[in-house]
Amino acid sequence: MRRVVVTGLGMVTPLGNGVEGTWEQLARGVSGIRAIDRFQVDDLPARIGGQIPTEADHPYRFDPDAVAAAKDRRRMDEFIVYGLAAAIEAIEDSGWKPEAEEDRERTGVIIGSGIGGLPNIAEASKIMEASGPRKISPFFIPSSLINLVSGHVSIRYGFQGPNHAVVTACSTGAHAIGDASRIIKYGDADVMVAGGAEAALCRLGIAGFAAARALSTSYNDAPTTGSRPWDKGRDGFVMGEGAGVLVLEEYEHAKKRGAKIYAEVLGYGMSGDAYHITAPAEDGNGGFRAMRNALRDAKLDVSAVDYVNAHGTSTPLGDEIELGAVKRLFGDHAYKLSMSSTKSAIGHLLGAAGAVEAIFSIKALNTGICPPTLNLNDPSEGCDIDLVPLKAKERSVKIALSNSFGFGGTNASLVLGAV
């Protein structure tokens, strides 16, 4: 069986541009949640978010000009810019720059998004209403389509292998990584650039998730405290934006070219809740089976897992249901592992979350640091395992599991291991 390893990492998050800057702050317990100042929020019930920092004095400022020229960015809604930025970082990091036609044909891309170009769709709809169809930009469709992150990455680097995109709401990033690893295992490609990108942080996005009663609305005056997984005071998720991209590679291929190897994708598990369009199944059955299937795929016993990066969105229902599923699956070992939600620091990156969180899990493997669950001051009843409250924890992490669950009852778990 072909083995799949990770040889490149890239991300743009509310903590800033790049993996190192994000991780350094995450491990220190810095929050990237702030009062939204990019668009009008006074009539919105949720006014905080994980907005990508672009201000000049931010230590890890995101500079869109470094990704693509302004004229080219007219062809891209923001999620494409973030996805391309994360892909560039990951590809540069991996050192994989194939020149030969055959190598390019063996390199593919699978970067998804939960929602795609929502700000752009909202804007174009206004233009249509006000000025009619002749004023719609020829770039409107290609700048909104979800698979255009994969498209732009392939065009920029000449990667002519499988070109795909996942759309499974908040499980997108995890599914993309899992599916990419299967594409490599099956032999359709040797290298896959995989991940998720999201930029739905706009008036319509906030209004829509708020209408579904999914967002935190009680902490508008104290933004950094709004995302508080498992805490009694939690009242919904805080929306973030950004992207996470990994370079996945067949193990012998990576070894042969002397690539640095961050981790191995050991297992991938999927499931469907078959329950409700937005609410998780009350018994946590979907998450339970995704985790079980991932560990089965990895041929590992539950006792092997040291760290779980939880889905943990800070919603009243979801956090405890996930924890219940973890306790049921892991039994006594649930009290020996550490589990945290990094959404406490960066909010919920929706389709990018699974990819960004897989990278955090890999950083935990590489550094022996489990990132904290911020704002977990007063855990709900029964939240009695190590949820890494407030401060990062140092421990040996050889195997990590990362969970992602999405609207529609779509679940994915990844098992990652040190090589």
């Binding site: 930009s137 020829p138 290609p142």
Partner: protein
């Protein structure tokens, strides 16, 4: 250079991100200035906006160079 020509060239420079000295009268949007078919649609929309003219699709298809654009607009506004 006429006022129309100056304004057309300014739009081309802004939209295609090219150096001003490359935007000569005879420059072809696609062959010389690196535009693709979507860029040319957007350029025509920008000309319509700037000069308050309507450029029908069959006329737009014939606007291939900077000069084509200037002539169409001068005629339409003349």
């Amino acid at each position: 250079m006429s006022n129309v020509a100056e304004r057309v060239k300014k739009i081309v420079v802004e939209h295609l991100g090219v150096e001003a000295d490359k935007v000569t009268d005879t420059a072809s949007f696609i062959d010389d200035l690196g535009a693709d078919s979507l860029d040319t649609v957007e350029l025509v929309m920008a000309f319509e906006e700037e000069f308050s003219v309507e450029i029908p699709d069959d006329a737009a298809e014939k606007i291939l160079t900077v000069k084509d654009a200037i002539e169409f607009i001068e005629k339409a506004n003349g």
